[in-house]
Symmetry: C2
DNA sequence: ACAAAAGTGTTCGATATACACCCATGA
DNA sequence: TCATGGGTGTATATCGAACACTTTTGT
Protein backbone atom coordinates (compact mmCIF):
# COMPACT_ATOMS: atom_id res chain seq x y z
CA UNK A 1 0.00 0.00 0.00
CA UNK A 2 1.41 3.27 -1.05
CA UNK A 3 0.30 6.79 -1.65
CA UNK A 4 0.12 7.81 -5.27
CA UNK A 5 0.45 11.36 -6.42
CA UNK A 6 0.44 12.86 -9.86
CA UNK A 7 2.95 15.60 -10.65
CA UNK A 8 2.44 17.83 -13.66
CA UNK A 9 5.14 19.67 -15.50
CA UNK A 10 3.16 22.45 -17.16
CA UNK A 11 5.07 23.89 -20.09
CA UNK A 12 4.37 27.24 -21.69
CA UNK A 13 6.12 29.36 -24.30
CA UNK A 14 6.53 33.08 -23.93
CA UNK A 15 9.05 35.69 -25.03
CA UNK A 16 10.98 33.07 -26.94
CA UNK A 17 11.48 31.00 -23.84
CA UNK A 18 10.19 27.64 -22.73
CA UNK A 19 8.70 28.05 -19.28
CA UNK A 20 7.29 25.90 -16.50
CA UNK A 21 4.74 26.61 -13.80
CA UNK A 22 6.18 26.32 -10.29
CA UNK A 23 4.63 26.79 -6.87
CA UNK A 24 6.48 28.60 -4.12
CA UNK A 25 7.19 26.79 -0.89
CA UNK A 26 8.23 28.51 2.33
CA UNK A 27 9.93 26.27 4.85
CA UNK A 28 9.55 27.50 8.41
CA UNK A 29 10.63 26.14 11.78
CA UNK A 30 8.26 25.72 14.72
CA UNK A 31 8.51 29.38 15.66
CA UNK A 32 7.59 30.43 12.16
CA UNK A 33 11.03 31.68 11.15
CA UNK A 34 11.78 31.30 7.45
CA UNK A 35 14.39 28.61 6.95
CA UNK A 36 14.32 28.24 3.21
CA UNK A 37 12.31 29.13 0.15
CA UNK A 38 12.09 26.86 -2.83
CA UNK A 39 9.74 25.64 -5.55
CA UNK A 40 7.72 22.57 -6.42
CA UNK A 41 6.09 21.26 -9.53
CA UNK A 42 2.33 21.24 -9.37
CA UNK A 43 0.90 17.97 -8.16
CA UNK A 44 -1.61 16.29 -5.92
CA UNK A 45 -2.48 12.84 -4.73
CA UNK A 46 -4.99 10.90 -6.78
CA UNK A 47 -8.54 10.24 -5.75
CA UNK A 48 -9.65 6.65 -5.35
CA UNK A 49 -12.20 6.91 -8.12
CA UNK A 50 -10.25 8.55 -10.91
CA UNK A 51 -7.85 7.30 -13.56
CA UNK A 52 -4.28 8.55 -13.52
CA UNK A 53 -4.94 10.59 -16.65
CA UNK A 54 -7.99 12.15 -15.08
CA UNK A 55 -5.99 13.18 -12.05
CA UNK A 56 -3.47 14.92 -14.27
CA UNK A 57 -6.25 16.74 -16.07
CA UNK A 58 -7.87 17.74 -12.81
CA UNK A 59 -4.66 19.15 -11.40
CA UNK A 60 -3.97 21.31 -14.44
CA UNK A 61 -7.59 22.37 -14.67
CA UNK A 62 -7.65 23.45 -11.05
CA UNK A 63 -4.68 25.69 -11.67
CA UNK A 64 -5.36 27.05 -15.13
CA UNK A 65 -9.05 26.52 -15.78
CA UNK A 66 -8.16 25.11 -19.18
CA UNK A 67 -9.48 21.87 -20.61
CA UNK A 68 -8.46 19.74 -23.56
CA UNK A 69 -4.74 20.36 -23.34
CA UNK A 70 -2.10 18.02 -24.62
CA UNK A 71 -1.08 15.57 -21.90
CA UNK A 72 1.61 12.98 -21.69
CA UNK A 73 2.61 10.63 -18.92
CA UNK A 74 6.37 10.17 -19.10
CA UNK A 75 7.71 8.44 -15.98
CA UNK A 76 7.01 7.35 -12.41
CA UNK A 77 9.19 8.17 -9.49
CA UNK A 78 9.20 5.90 -6.48
CA UNK A 79 12.60 5.84 -4.84
CA UNK A 80 12.35 5.30 -1.10
CA UNK A 81 14.36 8.40 -0.30
CA UNK A 82 12.71 10.80 -2.71
CA UNK A 83 10.95 12.81 0.01
CA UNK A 84 13.54 12.25 2.72
CA UNK A 85 15.64 15.39 2.55
CA UNK A 86 15.37 17.24 5.84
CA UNK A 87 13.59 20.30 4.50
CA UNK A 88 11.13 18.12 2.63
CA UNK A 89 10.29 16.18 5.77
CA UNK A 90 9.89 19.42 7.69
CA UNK A 91 7.46 20.64 5.08
CA UNK A 92 5.46 17.42 4.85
CA UNK A 93 5.00 17.12 8.59
CA UNK A 94 2.37 19.86 8.51
CA UNK A 95 0.08 17.62 6.44
CA UNK A 96 0.08 14.82 9.01
CA UNK A 97 0.34 11.17 8.20
CA UNK A 98 -0.55 11.15 4.52
CA UNK A 99 3.05 11.51 3.43
CA UNK A 100 4.74 9.73 6.29
CA UNK A 101 5.01 6.62 4.19
CA UNK A 102 6.40 6.37 0.72
CA UNK A 103 4.85 8.32 -2.09
CA UNK A 104 5.01 7.25 -5.70
CA UNK A 105 4.59 10.04 -8.22
CA UNK A 106 3.31 9.41 -11.69
CA UNK A 107 4.56 12.35 -13.72
CA UNK A 108 2.86 14.06 -16.65
CA UNK A 109 3.62 17.10 -18.68
CA UNK A 110 1.12 19.29 -20.42
CA UNK A 111 1.44 22.00 -23.00
CA UNK A 112 -0.21 25.38 -22.60
CA UNK A 113 -0.84 27.55 -25.64
CA UNK A 114 -0.12 30.71 -23.71
CA UNK A 115 1.52 31.78 -20.52
CA UNK A 116 -0.99 34.61 -20.29
CA UNK A 117 -3.57 32.82 -18.21
CA UNK A 118 -5.24 33.37 -14.92
CA UNK A 119 -3.75 31.22 -12.20
CA UNK A 120 -6.84 30.03 -10.37
CA UNK A 121 -5.13 28.51 -7.35
CA UNK A 122 -4.91 31.54 -5.07
CA UNK A 123 -3.72 29.60 -2.02
CA UNK A 124 -0.34 29.01 -3.50
CA UNK A 125 1.94 31.41 -5.28
CA UNK A 126 2.31 29.85 -8.72
CA UNK A 127 4.37 31.45 -11.47
CA UNK A 128 6.15 30.86 -14.76
CA UNK A 129 9.91 30.22 -14.78
CA UNK A 130 12.24 29.77 -17.75
CA UNK A 131 13.17 26.09 -17.78
CA UNK A 132 16.89 26.60 -18.19
CA UNK A 133 17.17 28.92 -15.20
CA UNK A 134 15.41 26.75 -12.66
CA UNK A 135 17.24 25.82 -9.48
CA UNK A 136 16.21 25.09 -5.96
CA UNK A 137 13.42 22.63 -6.61
CA UNK A 138 11.93 20.57 -3.81
CA UNK A 139 12.09 16.77 -3.48
CA UNK A 140 13.31 15.05 -6.65
CA UNK A 141 11.50 17.57 -8.83
CA UNK A 142 14.57 18.56 -10.76
CA UNK A 143 14.98 14.96 -11.85
CA UNK A 144 11.32 14.99 -12.90
CA UNK A 145 11.76 18.20 -14.84
CA UNK A 146 14.82 16.86 -16.66
CA UNK A 147 12.98 13.73 -17.72
CA UNK A 148 10.03 15.81 -18.85
CA UNK A 149 12.21 17.90 -21.14
CA UNK A 150 13.88 14.84 -22.61
CA UNK A 151 10.54 13.21 -23.26
CA UNK A 152 9.12 16.40 -24.74
CA UNK A 153 12.08 16.58 -27.14
CA UNK A 154 11.54 13.04 -28.26
CA UNK A 155 7.85 13.46 -28.75
CA UNK A 156 8.29 16.75 -30.56
CA UNK A 157 10.50 15.06 -33.14
CA UNK A 158 7.83 12.49 -33.91
CA UNK A 159 4.55 14.33 -33.48
CA UNK A 160 3.18 17.76 -34.24
CA UNK A 161 2.81 18.91 -30.66
CA UNK A 162 4.76 22.16 -31.02
CA UNK A 163 1.53 23.78 -32.11
CA UNK A 164 0.00 23.08 -28.70
CA UNK A 165 2.47 25.60 -27.31
CA UNK A 166 1.76 28.27 -29.93
CA UNK A 167 -1.23 30.51 -30.52
CA UNK A 168 -3.71 29.31 -33.18
CA UNK A 169 -2.16 31.68 -35.67
CA UNK A 170 1.57 31.99 -35.41
CA UNK A 171 4.59 33.14 -37.38
CA UNK A 172 7.41 30.94 -38.59
CA UNK A 173 9.70 32.91 -36.31
CA UNK A 174 7.70 31.91 -33.28
CA UNK A 175 7.83 28.28 -34.32
CA UNK A 176 11.52 28.55 -34.95
CA UNK A 177 12.23 30.16 -31.61
CA UNK A 178 10.11 27.54 -29.90
CA UNK A 179 12.17 24.73 -31.39
CA UNK A 180 15.38 26.49 -30.49
CA UNK A 181 14.16 26.90 -26.96
CA UNK A 182 13.01 23.31 -26.51
CA UNK A 183 16.17 21.80 -27.94
CA UNK A 184 18.26 24.54 -26.36
CA UNK A 185 20.20 25.06 -29.56
CA UNK A 186 20.43 27.31 -32.62
CA UNK A 187 19.00 26.61 -36.06
CA UNK A 188 19.67 28.17 -39.40
CA UNK A 189 16.77 30.43 -40.21
CA UNK A 190 16.64 29.64 -43.93
CA UNK A 191 16.96 25.89 -43.50
CA UNK A 192 14.26 25.93 -40.86
CA UNK A 193 11.90 27.86 -43.11
CA UNK A 194 12.52 25.54 -46.00
CA UNK A 195 11.76 22.56 -43.83
CA UNK A 196 8.55 24.08 -42.52
CA UNK A 197 7.44 25.08 -46.00
CA UNK A 198 7.58 21.41 -46.95
CA UNK A 199 5.13 20.57 -44.18
CA UNK A 200 1.79 20.74 -45.92
CA UNK A 201 0.01 20.87 -42.59
CA UNK A 202 1.55 24.21 -41.71
CA UNK A 203 -0.75 26.39 -43.76
CA UNK A 204 0.08 30.01 -44.68
CA UNK A 205 -2.79 32.44 -44.16
CA UNK A 206 -3.52 35.74 -45.89
CA UNK A 207 -2.91 37.51 -42.62
CA UNK A 208 0.05 39.39 -41.32
CA UNK A 209 1.20 40.80 -38.04
CA UNK A 210 0.15 44.37 -37.43
CA UNK A 211 1.56 47.14 -35.30
CA UNK A 212 5.07 45.76 -35.25
CA UNK A 213 8.08 47.99 -35.75
CA UNK A 214 9.39 45.94 -38.64
CA UNK A 215 8.24 44.04 -41.67
CA UNK A 216 5.07 42.23 -40.57
CA UNK A 217 5.39 38.48 -40.57
CA UNK A 218 2.93 36.20 -42.31
CA UNK A 219 0.71 34.10 -40.07
CA UNK A 220 0.35 30.34 -40.32
CA UNK A 221 -1.86 27.73 -38.75
CA UNK A 222 -1.54 24.03 -38.08
CA UNK A 223 -4.09 21.82 -39.78
CA UNK A 224 -4.62 18.49 -38.12
CA UNK A 225 -6.78 17.43 -41.07
CA UNK A 226 -3.93 17.89 -43.47
CA UNK A 227 -1.54 16.26 -41.04
CA UNK A 228 -3.65 13.13 -40.76
CA UNK A 229 -4.30 13.00 -44.48
CA UNK A 230 -0.60 13.18 -45.37
CA UNK A 231 0.70 11.02 -42.56
CA UNK A 232 1.96 8.30 -44.84
CA UNK A 233 4.24 10.80 -46.59
CA UNK A 234 6.03 12.11 -43.56
CA UNK A 235 6.28 8.86 -41.56
CA UNK A 236 5.25 10.64 -38.42
CA UNK A 237 6.63 14.11 -38.13
CA UNK A 238 10.39 13.95 -37.92
CA UNK A 239 12.21 17.05 -37.00
CA UNK A 240 15.65 15.73 -36.21
CA UNK A 241 17.73 16.89 -33.32
CA UNK B 1 -3.80 4.47 -0.83
CA UNK B 2 -3.33 2.08 -3.62
CA UNK B 3 -1.58 -1.15 -4.36
CA UNK B 4 1.48 -0.86 -6.56
CA UNK B 5 2.75 -3.66 -8.69
CA UNK B 6 5.64 -3.86 -11.08
CA UNK B 7 5.14 -5.66 -14.39
CA UNK B 8 8.13 -6.75 -16.42
CA UNK B 9 8.17 -7.34 -20.14
CA UNK B 10 11.14 -9.65 -20.50
CA UNK B 11 12.44 -9.62 -24.06
CA UNK B 12 14.66 -12.26 -25.56
CA UNK B 13 15.91 -13.00 -29.06
CA UNK B 14 16.02 -16.48 -30.48
CA UNK B 15 15.73 -18.07 -33.90
CA UNK B 16 15.53 -14.66 -35.51
CA UNK B 17 12.50 -13.75 -33.47
CA UNK B 18 11.88 -11.27 -30.71
CA UNK B 19 10.27 -13.11 -27.84
CA UNK B 20 8.65 -12.34 -24.50
CA UNK B 21 8.31 -14.38 -21.34
CA UNK B 22 4.69 -15.08 -20.42
CA UNK B 23 3.12 -16.98 -17.53
CA UNK B 24 0.20 -19.28 -18.07
CA UNK B 25 -3.03 -18.61 -16.21
CA UNK B 26 -5.83 -21.14 -15.83
CA UNK B 27 -9.17 -19.67 -14.97
CA UNK B 28 -11.45 -22.12 -13.16
CA UNK B 29 -14.89 -21.87 -11.67
CA UNK B 30 -15.74 -22.90 -8.11
CA UNK B 31 -16.00 -26.56 -9.05
CA UNK B 32 -12.56 -26.45 -10.64
CA UNK B 33 -13.73 -26.67 -14.24
CA UNK B 34 -11.46 -24.90 -16.70
CA UNK B 35 -13.17 -21.80 -18.04
CA UNK B 36 -10.32 -20.15 -19.88
CA UNK B 37 -6.59 -20.26 -20.34
CA UNK B 38 -4.58 -17.15 -21.03
CA UNK B 39 -1.26 -15.49 -20.29
CA UNK B 40 0.15 -12.70 -18.16
CA UNK B 41 3.32 -10.70 -18.15
CA UNK B 42 5.52 -11.41 -15.20
CA UNK B 43 4.92 -9.07 -12.29
CA UNK B 44 4.52 -8.74 -8.58
CA UNK B 45 3.56 -6.12 -6.04
CA UNK B 46 6.36 -4.04 -4.57
CA UNK B 47 7.67 -4.42 -1.07
CA UNK B 48 7.46 -1.45 1.22
CA UNK B 49 11.21 -1.16 1.56
CA UNK B 50 12.39 -1.36 -2.02
CA UNK B 51 12.69 1.12 -4.85
CA UNK B 52 10.64 0.59 -7.99
CA UNK B 53 13.79 -0.30 -9.92
CA UNK B 54 14.77 -2.84 -7.28
CA UNK B 55 11.38 -4.48 -7.50
CA UNK B 56 11.80 -4.88 -11.24
CA UNK B 57 15.22 -6.41 -10.75
CA UNK B 58 13.93 -8.73 -8.09
CA UNK B 59 11.08 -9.96 -10.25
CA UNK B 60 13.32 -10.77 -13.18
CA UNK B 61 15.95 -12.31 -10.94
CA UNK B 62 13.41 -14.58 -9.29
CA UNK B 63 12.41 -15.90 -12.67
CA UNK B 64 15.71 -16.06 -14.52
CA UNK B 65 18.42 -15.99 -11.87
CA UNK B 66 20.22 -13.35 -13.94
CA UNK B 67 21.59 -10.09 -12.56
CA UNK B 68 22.82 -6.93 -14.20
CA UNK B 69 20.44 -6.92 -17.13
CA UNK B 70 19.36 -3.87 -19.01
CA UNK B 71 16.23 -2.38 -17.45
CA UNK B 72 13.94 0.40 -18.47
CA UNK B 73 10.81 1.77 -16.90
CA UNK B 74 8.52 2.90 -19.68
CA UNK B 75 5.01 3.63 -18.41
CA UNK B 76 2.55 3.26 -15.55
CA UNK B 77 -0.92 1.85 -15.90
CA UNK B 78 -3.59 2.92 -13.47
CA UNK B 79 -6.98 2.96 -15.13
CA UNK B 80 -9.77 2.11 -12.71
CA UNK B 81 -11.08 -0.69 -14.89
CA UNK B 82 -7.79 -2.34 -15.79
CA UNK B 83 -8.45 -5.44 -13.67
CA UNK B 84 -12.22 -5.42 -13.96
CA UNK B 85 -12.86 -7.89 -16.76
CA UNK B 86 -14.87 -10.77 -15.42
CA UNK B 87 -12.23 -13.44 -15.86
CA UNK B 88 -9.62 -11.20 -14.24
CA UNK B 89 -11.82 -10.67 -11.20
CA UNK B 90 -12.49 -14.37 -10.97
CA UNK B 91 -8.76 -15.01 -11.00
CA UNK B 92 -7.87 -12.30 -8.49
CA UNK B 93 -10.47 -13.43 -5.98
CA UNK B 94 -8.31 -16.38 -4.97
CA UNK B 95 -5.69 -13.99 -3.57
CA UNK B 96 -8.11 -12.33 -1.19
CA UNK B 97 -8.29 -8.63 -0.53
CA UNK B 98 -4.96 -7.46 -1.89
CA UNK B 99 -6.32 -6.78 -5.33
CA UNK B 100 -9.85 -5.87 -4.43
CA UNK B 101 -8.98 -2.20 -4.70
CA UNK B 102 -7.25 -0.54 -7.56
CA UNK B 103 -3.81 -1.61 -8.61
CA UNK B 104 -1.35 0.65 -10.32
CA UNK B 105 1.31 -1.11 -12.36
CA UNK B 106 4.65 0.45 -13.06
CA UNK B 107 5.92 -1.32 -16.15
CA UNK B 108 9.51 -2.17 -17.06
CA UNK B 109 11.10 -4.12 -19.81
CA UNK B 110 14.36 -5.94 -19.62
CA UNK B 111 16.58 -7.50 -22.22
CA UNK B 112 17.89 -11.03 -21.93
CA UNK B 113 20.97 -12.08 -23.86
CA UNK B 114 19.59 -15.53 -24.45
CA UNK B 115 16.31 -17.36 -24.35
CA UNK B 116 18.20 -20.47 -23.30
CA UNK B 117 17.91 -19.98 -19.56
CA UNK B 118 16.56 -21.93 -16.68
CA UNK B 119 13.17 -20.64 -15.60
CA UNK B 120 13.51 -20.72 -11.83
CA UNK B 121 9.88 -20.08 -10.96
CA UNK B 122 8.53 -23.61 -10.94
CA UNK B 123 5.13 -22.69 -9.51
CA UNK B 124 4.06 -21.05 -12.69
CA UNK B 125 4.39 -22.25 -16.23
CA UNK B 126 6.52 -19.55 -17.85
CA UNK B 127 7.60 -19.69 -21.47
CA UNK B 128 8.87 -17.70 -24.42
CA UNK B 129 6.44 -16.45 -27.07
CA UNK B 130 7.17 -14.61 -30.32
CA UNK B 131 5.97 -11.04 -29.74
CA UNK B 132 4.06 -10.72 -32.97
CA UNK B 133 2.01 -13.84 -32.39
CA UNK B 134 0.79 -13.05 -28.89
CA UNK B 135 -2.93 -12.98 -28.21
CA UNK B 136 -5.09 -13.71 -25.27
CA UNK B 137 -3.27 -11.70 -22.62
CA UNK B 138 -4.83 -11.03 -19.24
CA UNK B 139 -5.83 -7.62 -17.84
CA UNK B 140 -4.46 -4.73 -19.89
CA UNK B 141 -1.26 -6.61 -20.60
CA UNK B 142 -1.53 -6.30 -24.35
CA UNK B 143 -1.55 -2.55 -23.98
CA UNK B 144 1.52 -2.85 -21.79
CA UNK B 145 3.29 -5.06 -24.30
CA UNK B 146 2.53 -2.65 -27.15
CA UNK B 147 3.96 0.28 -25.22
CA UNK B 148 7.02 -1.74 -24.33
CA UNK B 149 7.77 -2.50 -27.96
CA UNK B 150 7.33 1.12 -28.96
CA UNK B 151 9.62 2.27 -26.21
CA UNK B 152 12.17 -0.39 -27.05
CA UNK B 153 12.18 0.78 -30.67
CA UNK B 154 12.77 4.34 -29.65
CA UNK B 155 15.53 3.48 -27.24
CA UNK B 156 17.19 1.18 -29.71
CA UNK B 157 17.48 3.99 -32.22
CA UNK B 158 19.30 6.17 -29.69
CA UNK B 159 21.35 3.76 -27.60
CA UNK B 160 23.37 0.61 -28.18
CA UNK B 161 21.05 -1.74 -26.35
CA UNK B 162 20.65 -4.27 -29.15
CA UNK B 163 23.78 -5.96 -27.86
CA UNK B 164 22.02 -6.76 -24.60
CA UNK B 165 19.85 -9.13 -26.61
CA UNK B 166 22.74 -10.80 -28.43
CA UNK B 167 25.45 -13.18 -27.24
CA UNK B 168 28.80 -11.59 -26.39
CA UNK B 169 30.14 -12.66 -29.77
CA UNK B 170 27.67 -12.37 -32.57
CA UNK B 171 27.49 -12.24 -36.36
CA UNK B 172 26.28 -9.29 -38.39
CA UNK B 173 23.45 -11.49 -39.57
CA UNK B 174 22.23 -11.99 -36.05
CA UNK B 175 22.30 -8.26 -35.44
CA UNK B 176 20.53 -7.62 -38.70
CA UNK B 177 17.81 -10.17 -37.99
CA UNK B 178 17.39 -8.68 -34.52
CA UNK B 179 16.76 -5.22 -35.94
CA UNK B 180 14.35 -6.61 -38.49
CA UNK B 181 12.50 -8.43 -35.79
CA UNK B 182 12.28 -5.46 -33.42
CA UNK B 183 11.16 -3.02 -36.08
CA UNK B 184 9.10 -5.74 -37.77
CA UNK B 185 10.43 -4.78 -41.17
CA UNK B 186 13.01 -5.76 -43.81
CA UNK B 187 16.40 -4.17 -44.35
CA UNK B 188 18.81 -4.35 -47.23
CA UNK B 189 21.62 -6.66 -46.22
CA UNK B 190 24.41 -4.69 -47.87
CA UNK B 191 23.26 -1.32 -46.63
CA UNK B 192 22.91 -2.70 -43.13
CA UNK B 193 26.43 -4.11 -43.20
CA UNK B 194 27.85 -0.86 -44.46
CA UNK B 195 26.15 1.00 -41.65
CA UNK B 196 27.40 -1.40 -39.01
CA UNK B 197 30.92 -1.31 -40.40
CA UNK B 198 30.91 2.44 -39.75
CA UNK B 199 30.20 1.83 -36.09
CA UNK B 200 33.66 1.69 -34.56
CA UNK B 201 32.25 0.12 -31.43
CA UNK B 202 31.16 -3.02 -33.28
CA UNK B 203 34.54 -4.71 -33.40
CA UNK B 204 35.33 -7.58 -35.81
CA UNK B 205 37.14 -10.49 -34.18
CA UNK B 206 39.48 -13.05 -35.73
CA UNK B 207 36.90 -15.71 -35.02
CA UNK B 208 34.39 -17.40 -37.20
CA UNK B 209 31.41 -19.65 -36.77
CA UNK B 210 32.17 -23.32 -36.89
CA UNK B 211 30.12 -26.37 -37.75
CA UNK B 212 27.68 -24.52 -39.95
CA UNK B 213 26.58 -25.87 -43.26
CA UNK B 214 27.64 -22.75 -45.14
CA UNK B 215 30.38 -20.18 -45.26
CA UNK B 216 31.20 -19.45 -41.60
CA UNK B 217 30.34 -15.93 -40.53
CA UNK B 218 32.81 -13.63 -38.84
CA UNK B 219 32.12 -12.84 -35.18
CA UNK B 220 31.90 -9.34 -33.75
CA UNK B 221 31.64 -7.88 -30.28
CA UNK B 222 30.29 -4.64 -28.89
CA UNK B 223 32.83 -2.47 -27.09
CA UNK B 224 31.35 -0.06 -24.61
CA UNK B 225 34.76 1.56 -24.22
CA UNK B 226 34.88 2.47 -27.86
CA UNK B 227 31.25 3.55 -27.79
CA UNK B 228 31.83 5.96 -24.93
CA UNK B 229 35.06 7.27 -26.43
CA UNK B 230 33.44 8.05 -29.79
CA UNK B 231 30.12 9.29 -28.47
CA UNK B 232 30.61 12.82 -29.72
CA UNK B 233 30.91 11.53 -33.29
CA UNK B 234 27.70 9.60 -33.42
CA UNK B 235 25.44 11.92 -31.38
CA UNK B 236 24.00 9.01 -29.51
CA UNK B 237 23.50 5.97 -31.65
CA UNK B 238 20.98 6.69 -34.34
CA UNK B 239 19.65 3.82 -36.30
CA UNK B 240 16.71 5.34 -38.05
CA UNK B 241 13.41 3.61 -38.44
C1' DA C 1 17.31 57.71 -41.76
C1' DC C 2 17.54 54.05 -38.92
C1' DA C 3 16.48 50.00 -36.18
C1' DA C 4 14.48 45.47 -36.22
C1' DA C 5 12.81 41.44 -37.81
C1' DA C 6 11.04 39.17 -42.35
C1' DG C 7 12.08 36.81 -46.13
C1' DT C 8 14.82 34.56 -49.88
C1' DG C 9 18.74 30.43 -53.20
C1' DT C 10 22.65 27.98 -54.03
C1' DT C 11 26.43 24.94 -53.30
C1' DC C 12 28.55 20.90 -51.22
C1' DG C 13 29.10 16.87 -48.73
C1' DA C 14 26.85 13.04 -46.41
C1' DT C 15 23.51 9.75 -46.22
C1' DA C 16 19.70 6.59 -47.76
C1' DT C 17 18.23 3.42 -51.20
C1' DA C 18 18.18 0.14 -54.83
C1' DC C 19 20.20 -3.65 -56.87
C1' DA C 20 22.99 -9.05 -58.36
C1' DC C 21 26.57 -12.00 -58.04
C1' DC C 22 30.45 -15.02 -56.15
C1' DC C 23 32.23 -17.58 -51.91
C1' DA C 24 33.04 -21.11 -48.34
C1' DT C 25 31.27 -24.82 -45.95
C1' DG C 26 28.85 -29.34 -44.55
C1' DA C 27 25.99 -32.76 -46.11
C1' DT D 1 27.43 -31.11 -56.52
C1' DC D 2 24.19 -28.84 -54.17
C1' DA D 3 21.94 -26.15 -50.69
C1' DT D 4 22.70 -22.56 -47.42
C1' DG D 5 23.77 -18.33 -45.69
C1' DG D 6 28.18 -15.07 -45.95
C1' DG D 7 30.01 -11.38 -48.01
C1' DT D 8 30.88 -7.51 -51.46
C1' DG D 9 30.43 -2.16 -54.77
C1' DT D 10 28.32 1.27 -57.43
C1' DA D 11 25.11 4.70 -59.03
C1' DT D 12 21.32 7.90 -57.89
C1' DA D 13 18.40 10.71 -55.23
C1' DT D 14 17.59 13.09 -51.13
C1' DC D 15 18.72 15.65 -47.19
C1' DG D 16 21.30 18.53 -43.97
C1' DA D 17 24.63 22.37 -43.33
C1' DA D 18 26.72 26.55 -44.35
C1' DC D 19 26.32 31.07 -45.88
C1' DA D 20 24.65 37.19 -46.88
C1' DC D 21 21.80 40.37 -48.58
C1' DT D 22 17.28 42.87 -49.60
C1' DT D 23 12.54 44.14 -47.88
C1' DT D 24 9.04 46.28 -45.09
C1' DT D 25 7.45 48.58 -41.38
C1' DG D 26 7.26 52.01 -37.17
C1' DT D 27 9.63 55.54 -34.95
Amino acid sequence: MSTISVDCVIFGFDQNQLKVLLAERWIKDQEGNLLDKDYTLTGYHIYQDEDLDSAAHRIVEDITGLEGLHFEQFYSFGDLNRLQKEKDQRWLKQFGDVFSERVISVAYYSLLPSTKIQILDKDRNIEWFPVYEIENLAYDHHKILDKAIKHLRYRLSHEPIAFDLLPKKFTISQMYKLYESIYNTKYDKRNFRRKVSQMKFVVPLDEYQSAVANKPAQLYMFSRDVYEATKKDHHGFFFNY
